[in-house]
């Protein structure tokens, strides 16, 4: 099996999985319980929080555990909107955001908020000047992703952060679900940041919203006031500990194997560029080291994904979340890619565990597969 769908989800690290099992066997108490079992779970949760914070370069109190990236994005956007609507009702984002950002914004529009969806250039990048131009006295939030989930394009986060430093009334949220563990991000001038554990070999059902001290946020889930009241619900201590471990491990892997990952991507890019019938959508400069998005002309992306699957290679069309809706990729459309080419696109996404040998085998399989499909399709 060649697993090249790591932006959809990663395989959990064995170590993270074993943490999850052990915690649920030994420290299964409710962290809010008064007795010893509760106290142990609470302390484990605190140690996990401290470790996450130190890996992110922040303090434990700035970490809110959530059920995943979607919840963290919703909490960041709707939570900010609810808590700050008295100051203004304008939000700025951009067109290639993940649906959990776009749809949260659209929902707010139904409730009287105004949202600017900034365009991107042909590389999929938004410009800081456009952000600056879109700011109004009513603006309360700018939400821009770090690494695009379909193309791997990196957005100019530091540039925007610098710009917003002079706008103290505007909060800056960054969706770092695809970047964490692959592309370093300094949180210093960022107010809110989303992470998802299963994108860095943790388990599904765990995420983080980083919230800078002093940032006002309304909770979306009301209840027992866990997570300092920002996210009620009994804490998933096992998942959280597994996430803390996975983040530690992927950061180690990034330092040790970062070059290798980039080299595998470069190799794939070069081989694909050598083909007349392939168009690569991932920008050459300013892209993450693990994503390659490309189209094989006149071949439906969906068909190619299934054909490759028969040969043991796992890829996606667009993002896993949208691929079942059979819609043309909004990300590629926003970049100006024509519909028929966008409909041919597939996304290949790597982890530090993928090797050059796998990449070579994949290229060979692709070479063999395309002619058989092209014959039928025509």
């Amino acid at each position: 099996m060649i697993y090249f769908d790591n932006s959809a989800t990663t395989k959990p690290y064995k170590e993270a999985l074993s943490t999850y099992v052990k915690v649920n066997e030994q420290f299964f108490g409710n962290p809010s319980s008064l007795h010893h079992l509760g106290l142990q779970a609470e302390r484990l949760l605190f140690e996990s929080r401290k470790q996450m914070a130190s890996l992110l370069g922040t303090e434990a109190e700035n970490i809110i555990f959530t059920s995943g990236g979607t919840e963290a994005n919703n909490l960041a956007i709707k939570g900010t909107a609810l808590a700050n609507m008295h100051r203004g009702r304008h939000i700025i984002t951009q067109q290639t955001e993940h649906p959990s950002v776009i749809n949260a914004c659209q929902q707010l529009e139904e409730h009287g908020f105004r949202v600017s969806y900034l365009p991107v250039d042909s590389h999929g990048q938004v410009s800081a000047e456009d952000v600056a131009a879109a700011l109004t006295n009513e603006t309360i939030l700018v939400s821009i992703m770090h690494v695009n989930n379909e193309t791997g394009a990196i957005q100019p986060i530091q540039e925007i952060a610098k710009l917003l430093k002079n706008e103290p009334q505007v909060l800056f949220h960054v969706d770092d679900v695809q970047g964490r563990g692959k592309v370093p991000l300094n949180l210093e001038n960022i107010d809110l940041c989303t992470l998802s554990a299963h994108k860095f070999h943790g388990l599904k059902g765990n995420g983080v919203l980083y919230k800078k001290k002093g940032v006002k946020l309304s909770a979306l889930l009301s209840g027992g006031n866990q997570e300092s009241g920002f996210r009620s619900g009994t804490e998933n201590a096992g998942g959280v500990a597994a996430m803390a471990k996975a983040l530690r491990l992927i950061e180690e892997h990034r330092r040790e194997h970062g070059e290798r990952l980039r080299a595998v991507q470069q190799f794939l890019r070069k081989e694909l560029e050598g083909r007349q019938d392939v168009i690569i959508h991932t920008p050459r400069e300013g892209c993450a080291p693990h994503i390659l998005n490309f189209s094989v002309e006149r071949l439906k992306g969906e068909v190619l994904v299934h054909a490759l699957e028969e040969r043991g290679c796992y890829l996606s069309t667009t993002s896993a979340c949208s691929s079942r809706q059979k819609k043309t990729s909004t990300v590629l459309t926003a970049m100006g890619v024509p519909k028929e080419i966008a409909d041919s696109s597939v996304r290949l996404s790597l982890s530090y565990e993928n090797t050059r040998q796998e990449a070579e085998a994949f290229i060979q399989i692709l070479k063999d597969t395309i002619p058989t499909l092209a014959k039928v399709q025509r």
Binding site: K22, V23, L34, H36, L39, R43, E47, S48
Partner: protein
């Protein structure tokens, strides 16, 4: 030329006469404790200054930990030159250039501890200031409120230059004033009292009274977390956790309700004093502040104090609550202190404790009870925990 060492000024310490080497050695130890994460640095003690050789460690990383060390008046990252005016001028120019941006003003503040040097302080100011001014366009002098204050300190072994000066924590180095026992409850006041004594060079061991099942494991953990916070200001700390349930129950049973609080405090003092004696400490420290609660009236203090002739230090006695809270916030204990766990002082509080207890009365009530055996037992079963604690983290380290 990068800052390669830090010059540390002692302040109050320099006046300590023949005891000075004791003080400087303790200060050296405190600095080593505060900078223990940086194995490369080396310390060099001089009679009026201490030098930290950074050996590649960035100054920015040692800056914050150094600000917490008691006994430091101020400190500056410095570069060193020989006692040679050309060399001083060249280094000065480079430093000012690095810190300069358009419109900034500057001045030279020379200091000469080696009176043999060819120029006096005015001479140095002029020679260095003139040299820098001639070579930097747009730089002007402002002797009252300069943006760049170039410090030049001429010493026997060399000349030290800096554009930065940071205030230290002042006070006296940890352990220079002997040892005292702090009664640490978990509230806002007692950690602040401990901090203030530490600032005056007192080594602290903490005593906490634990009354399971009336007080929870969380309440105990909270006290350990507070004590651990205090270790940031000097050194390690022992915490003595005294099992106090049996004594509290006995008091409830035997002493009239108006006097239970007074009796409880007296028992605590007696136990604390006995642990003090065993640990070779010289005083007890409490977070009492006059008039804050029933036990903190002068009448109460008289009745409670009567159990021991040992000095009971109350550094917060004349402070307002808001001022105490402000310090608690500064030293990072406030947010732990306000966690809502019952402690042994609040659980048995009677509805109407006597605010003006009479010593004779409390003595009379206690005379019918044999506390000695219970107190002895409590001391024997006291748990001692050494902080900072390595254990809590390693318990889960395999999981994380």
């Amino acid at each position: 030329m990068n800052y390669d060492r830090v010059l540390v000024r002692y302040g109050e310490l320099s006046t300590k006469g023949r005891n000075r080497s004791l003080f400087t050695n303790k200060l050296k130890k405190s600095i080593m404790h505060a900078l223990r994460e940086f194995p490369n640095i080396r310390l060099q003690v001089r009679h009026d200054r201490l030098f930290i050789h950074l050996k590649g460690t960035p100054f920015e990383e040692v800056k914050e930990p150094l600000k917490q060390v008691f006994g430091i008046q101020s400190f500056s990252p410095v570069v060193r030159t020989e006692q040679n005016i050309e060399e001083i001028q060249a280094a000065a120019l480079e430093l000012v250039r690095k810190n300069f941006s358009k419109g900034k003003t500057f001045k030279v503040s020379a200091r000469r501890s080696d009176k043999q040097f060819e120029l006096d302080t005015n001479g140095i100011n002029q020679a260095v200031g003139g040299y820098v001014l001639q070579r930097m366009e747009g730089l002007t002098v402002d002797v009252k409120n300069p943006d760049i204050n170039l410090l030049v300190e001429v010493r026997k072994e060399g000349v030290y230059l800096s554009c930065e000066k940071y205030p230290g924590a002042t006070g006296l180095p940890a352990g220079t004033s002997g040892k005292a026992m702090l009664l640490l409850s978990g509230g806002i006041d007692s950690p602040v009292a401990g901090y203030m004594m530490m600032k005056r060079g007192v080594e602290i061991e903490a005593i906490h009274f634990h009354s399971p099942p009336y007080t929870s494991e969380r309440a105990k953990q909270k006290v350990l977390d507070l004590a651990e916070k205090l270790t940031a200001f000097g050194a390690k700390m022992k915490v003595h956790v005294v099992p106090f349930t049996a004594i509290q129950q006995k008091i409830q049973e035997k002493v009239p309700s108006g006097y239970t609080m007074t009796s409880t405090r007296r028992a605590m003092m007696e136990i604390a004093d006995e642990i003090r004696r065993k640990q070779g400490a010289l005083a007890l420290v409490t977070g009492e502040s006059l008039g804050q609660v029933a036990s903190q009236t002068l009448e109460s203090m008289l009745a409670i104090n009567a159990v021991t002739p040992t000095p009971i230090l109350r550094p917060l006695i004349a402070m307002d609550k808001l001022d105490i809270i402000e310090i608690a916030q500064q030293i990072g204990t406030h947010d732990i202190s306000i966690l809502p766990y019952e402690d042994c002082c609040t659980i048995f509080t009677p509805a109407a404790p006597k605010t003006r207890p009479k010593l004779e009365k409390v003595q009379q009530y206690e005379s019918s009870v044999n506390f000695e055996e219970l107190i002895k037992e409590a001391i024997e079963n006291t748990e001692v925990i050494q902080l900072p604690e390595e254990k809590a983290a390693s318990e889960f380290s395999e999981l994380l």
